[in-house]
């Protein structure tokens, strides 16, 4: 198309700035709201996954339980305890297990840095840190194999404990006293998001080697076993094998769900993942329907924009405009309005997402804000959105444009 003609179109377009501004605004608004909807929806799912990993990464937890079925002549209601020896047994018999660690805990008075506090002290194995997504702050470390083997008096402490006892000072290398036994702090936990917990959040705990725990505590059994399968898909197999092996050892029905408490977070994450995918699809659906309504509105506005220019179209036709000149003009206008509207909508949505992500979130409270303040603006969302909106806008522009070009010149000239 000749540049001069485009120039004329542009001039005519500017003449109708106010009316087209309304359409541009409508498109920008639609773009903005749908992109935000999608971004926040995706951020929600993502925050959930991250914070769930804060409890544990592909974790299966085994607890003591109580039988609910009679088994081999034994009555129901028996308490089933688990013991340190079960760790070796399970890891020997279940090759699918990647990491395994016992955990026992109790509350103790702790002194350090001249202060005193009452904290949950957990005796855990070296694999525990990895399983529970605990990362040591720079200069520190988690409990290792040697600590466990030699029952060393070392401690890895949550960031809240560190702040409590030592304020801003670095606790690594300092001494804390647990139950009148001195421990050397070897590491402080880096802050992490954690959505679920039992007996308090990891930030408030003190971790020591399980072997050492056994020496300062009288209990013989263990409270929990943490297991991480080599491959997350094996979680069901591992769960079944645990019930079989421990069922044989402690004589309970492997089908008895209450004999052992098993918290299979992998399964839980999968289920929740589906829920969040569902939410995302639902939001996309809402967005799609909103867009459709918007497209109808845009079509209407485009029709109005065409209609009020009927006479001018008639004049142009009388002077020799071909159909394609008329169609092209309106398509160009639609394309321009569309680009402008989506550009502004997307730019504002992007800015809002970026600004929202700047809001600091607390690592202790895993409330709604954690999930709402980390929206994700993804390119794939934008691309899908642009394709859908582009199609709709094109459709909403092509019909008014075609109608304009089909006008009878005489009728058009006579239009008031």
């Amino acid at each position: 198309m000749r540049a001069q003609l485009v120039h004329l179109f542009a001039k005519e377009f500017r003449k109708r700035k106010k009316k087209s501004a309304l359409i541009t605004f409508a498109i920008a608004w639609g773009t903005l709201s749908i992109l935000l909807l999608m971004s926040f929806g995706r951020g929600l799912g993502n925050a959930f996954r991250i914070s769930f990993k804060g409890l544990g990464d592909n974790l299966i937890m085994v607890y003591r339980g109580q039988t609910s079925k009679d088994y081999q002549g034994l009555p129901k209601g028996r308490r089933i305890m688990i013991y340190p020896g079960d760790i070796a047994l399970l890891s020997a018999l279940i090759p699918e297990i990647g990491l395994i660690s016992p955990e026992s805990n109790d509350y103790f008075t702790i002194t350090g840095g001249g202060r005193e506090t009452n904290r949950n002290v957990c005796g855990v194995g070296p694999g525990f840190g990895v399983m529970r997504s605990m990362i040591a702050e720079r200069g520190g470390r988690f409990i290792n194999e040697e600590d466990e083997r030699s029952a060393r008096r070392v401690a890895f402490i949550g960031w809240n404990v560190a702040a409590n006892l030592f304020g801003g000072e670095n606790p690594v290398g300092r001494t804390i006293v647990v139950n009148r036994v001195p421990f050397t702090v070897v590491g402080v936990m880096k802050k992490k998001l954690q959505s679920s917990a039992y007996e308090g959040f990891d930030a408030d705990h003190v971790y020591i080697p399980h072997a050492t725990f056994s020496r300062i505590h009288t209990q013989l059994f263990i409270d929990r076993i943490h297991i991480q399968p080599k491959r997350p898909e094996d979680n069901q197999v591992v769960e079944r094998r645990i019930r079989q092996i421990l069922g044989r050892k402690y004589r309970f029905d492997p089908e008895d769900d209450y004999a052992l408490g098993i918290w299979n977070t992998i399964e839980e994450v999968e289920v929740a993942g589906r829920v969040f995918k569902g939410i995302e699809i639902f939001l996309a659906l809402i967005g799609g329907l909103t867009l459709l309504i918007g497209a109808v509105g845009v079509t209407n506005l485009m029709y109005a924009l065409v209609k009020e220019r009927t006479r001018e179209i008639g004049i142009k036709m009388a002077l020799g405009a071909k159909r394609r000149h008329i169609v092209l003009q309106f398509l160009l206008e639609t394309a321009f309005i569309f680009s402008k509207g989506t550009f502004w909508g997307a730019a504002i949505a992007y800015t809002i997402v970026r600004l929202t992500r700047l809001v600091p979130i607390s690592y202790e409270i895993t409330g709604i804000q954690t999930y709402l303040l980390r929206p994700i603006f993804s390119l794939d969302i934008l691309v899908v959105f642009l394709v859908v909106l582009g199609t709709l806008v094109f459709l909403s522009g092509i019909f008014p444009a075609l109608r304009a070009s089909r006008l009878n010149p005489i009728e058009a000239l006579r239009y008031e």
Binding site: R2, Q4, L5, L8, K11, E12, K15, R311, E312, G314, I315, K316, M317, A318, L319, G320, A321, K322, R323, R324, H325, N408, P409, I410, L413
Partner: protein
């Protein structure tokens, strides 16, 4: 130039049909200046629109410069209007947002006359109608007579051989109307064929021949 045989035009409005032209046969030679008169509703505009390829007849045959335009499609008719015909309307029909210059330029944009020649032609035409100094004015900033002169300049943009004017002086005072007629005489002198609808005898007097329409019939062809 124009050769019409038994041209009919029926307007269908739902069940009611109205025959606006009831068999018009008309011949206009190249270079003629013909005026069309007749009472309101007699079919003058209908006839002009058919001659100008803005509308199609429901019957009869029409040859424009030996070409049967009956079989032409929209874009071909657009080309004819663009190249061969210049329209002058009673209500000027200038694009309101465009300047005098841009209005005159418009028909050339649709046939792609190169920029430099286009500019030359626009200025030449504005010069001819005496409005070079008004080239940047919008229609609302011009008087009725001036607007009609812009419209005449625009009609001449692609140097058409046929000028169709439906009551060109209908919306302007008689003194200005005389000036416009001066331009028409000049156009005829240049060898163009002119068809003009008018209600005004003094305006019709500028033409060489007047035809009369009455209720869809051509009743008289004088001179």
């Amino acid at each position: 130039m124009i050769e019409m045989k038994d041209i009919r035009k029926v307007y269908q409005m739902g069940k009611v049909s109205l025959e606006a032209l009831k068999g018009i046969s008309l011949r206009v030679e190249p270079g003629e200046f013909v005026s069309i008169m007749g009472p309101s509703g007699s079919g003058k505009s209908t006839l002009m629109n058919i001659i100008g390829c803005l509308d199609t007849p429901t019957g009869g045959s029409y040859f424009l410069e030996e070409k049967n335009v009956a079989g032409f499609n929209f874009d071909q008719l657009s080309s004819i209007r663009n190249q061969k015909i210049g329209f002058v309307f009673q209500n000027f029909n200038l694009l309101p947002y465009a300047t005098a210059y841009e209005n005159v330029e418009l028909p050339m944009l649709f046939n792609g006359k190169p920029g430099k020649k286009r500019r030359q032609r626009v200025l030449e035409l504005l010069e001819m109608v005496g409005l070079v100094d008004r080239q940047a004015h919008r229609p609302t900033e011009l008087s009725g007579g001036e607007q009609q002169r812009v419209a005449i300049a625009r009609a001449l943009a692609n140097d058409p051989s046929l000028i169709l004017a439906d009551e060109p002086t209908g919306n302007i005072d008689s003194k200005t109307g005389q000036e416009i007629m001066g331009l028409f005489v000049e156009l005829q002198r240049q060898g163009r064929t002119i068809l003009m609808v008018t209600h005004d005898m003094t305006i019709a007097a500028y033409s060489e021949r007047t035809i009369r329409l009455l209720d869809g019939h051509l009743v008289e062809a004088r001179q």
